[in-house]
């Protein structure tokens, strides 16, 4: 791949960086990232990855834009209310950067369709908010050997961890499985400061870029937590768990299966609002 003069100008602030240069930018333009959820986390991630010139970006979302999304899901505008989130997000990404090929998936990820989708990509960003989806992505990425970024946000806090399947701690090393349904109130009850989605979603985008560039240290074997009220980050070391049901020494999860657990009563199974 040879960059055009326009591309050299567009990406000049990348190219001038010692760790990127022309070769790194070419690497980004050849890379493929999948963003699951065009919501709070997915919005900033999608915008920055498109701007950065990640050559192929997939965006998965089956929902349409609602007015209550706009407080944090910054890729969608007021005029997009009622439109498909995947299409709304794709439109903004293309508007930022025509170098990027955007693929939209207007569907929910399930055990029977996730593998075919994630295999097309180098890195997966989990921008979902519901636990069945989070564990499904974790498990599918493990079986497909795909690196991915986990994240969650709640009220004034957020957390993120990058997983290199089979090499670093996974979500199931930390949490055996989704919490019991009766312990989880609906999505609308707890709230979240909108900007938390930006802070954590951008960290996820940075991980995707670092992975594509093969630069720096990924946030593996550690959970980075952000307390927005205190203004503090903590990096909590997480070791691989030998008893992990997925990637431990004697795993009990050996094939990809649907992860059952109702999370949100707003719209029914699997259709919960993205964060």
């Amino acid at each position: 791949m040879t960059l055009t003069d326009t591309q050299i100008e567009r990406y000049s602030r990348h190219i001038i960086l010692e760790q990127i240069g022309l070769a790194g930018q070419e690497r980004l333009l050849s890379s493929k990232a999948l963003i699951v959820g065009a919501g709070g986390l997915g919005s900033p991630a999608a915008l920055y990855l498109a701007a950065a010139g990640v050559g192929t970006i997939g965006i998965v979302d089956n929902d349409s834009v609602e007015i209550s999304n706009l407080q944090r899901q910054i890729i969608h505008h007021t005029a997009d209310i009622g439109r498909d989130k995947a299409l709304s997000a794709a439109e903004k990404m293309r508007a930022i950067n025509t170098d990027v090929q955007v693929r939209t998936y207007k569907q929910y990820l399930r055990a029977d369709n996730i593998d075919n989708i994630i295999r097309e990509y180098d890195f997966v960003i989990d921008g979902t908010d519901n636990f069945p989806s989070k564990f499904l992505i974790n498990d599918a990425c493990y079986f497909a050997g795909k690196p991915y970024s986990h994240a969650g946000i709640l009220r004034f806090s957020g957390q993120t961890m990058t997983v290199l399947p089979g090499q670093s701690a996974c979500l199931r090393c930390l949490f055996d499985g989704p919490p019991p349904p009766n312990a989880v109130p609906s999505c609308s009850q707890a709230g979240v400061l909108g900007v938390l989605a930006g802070v954590i979603g951008c960290l996820q985008a940075a991980e995707a870029l670092k992975f594509a560039l093969q630069q720096g240290e990924l946030l593996t074997n550690a959970l980075l937590t952000y307390d927005g009220l205190q203004g503090t980050f903590r990096k909590v070391p997480i070791r691989r768990n030998p008893h992990c049901r997925l990637c431990g020494e004697s795993p009990s999860i050996t094939t990809l299966e649907e992860v059952e657990q109702p999370v949100c009563d707003l719209k029914g199974k699997g259709s919960c609002c993205t964060t």
């Binding site: 908010d129 709640l154 806090s157 957390q159 949490f175 312990a183 009850q189 997480i238 070791r239 008893h243």
Partner: protein, 70 residues
Amino acid sequence: MKIIVNGEEKDVAATTVTGLLSELKIRSPEQVAIELNGDILDRNAYEQTAVKEGDQLEFIYFMGGGHDAY
């Protein structure tokens, strides 16, 4: 007894993880993963797991979005 919980020193009386959850008023322990000196604890072992002076614990909350962790 002084221990470190999520990076902060705490003076506690509890001697087991279960006791600590109660003492620290963790209302939904099923929504928390606990790391003791770097190792993730088995949820079924909280009752038998002793907490000792100087232990470092991390309480790590499920965060999907919009659910009540505390």
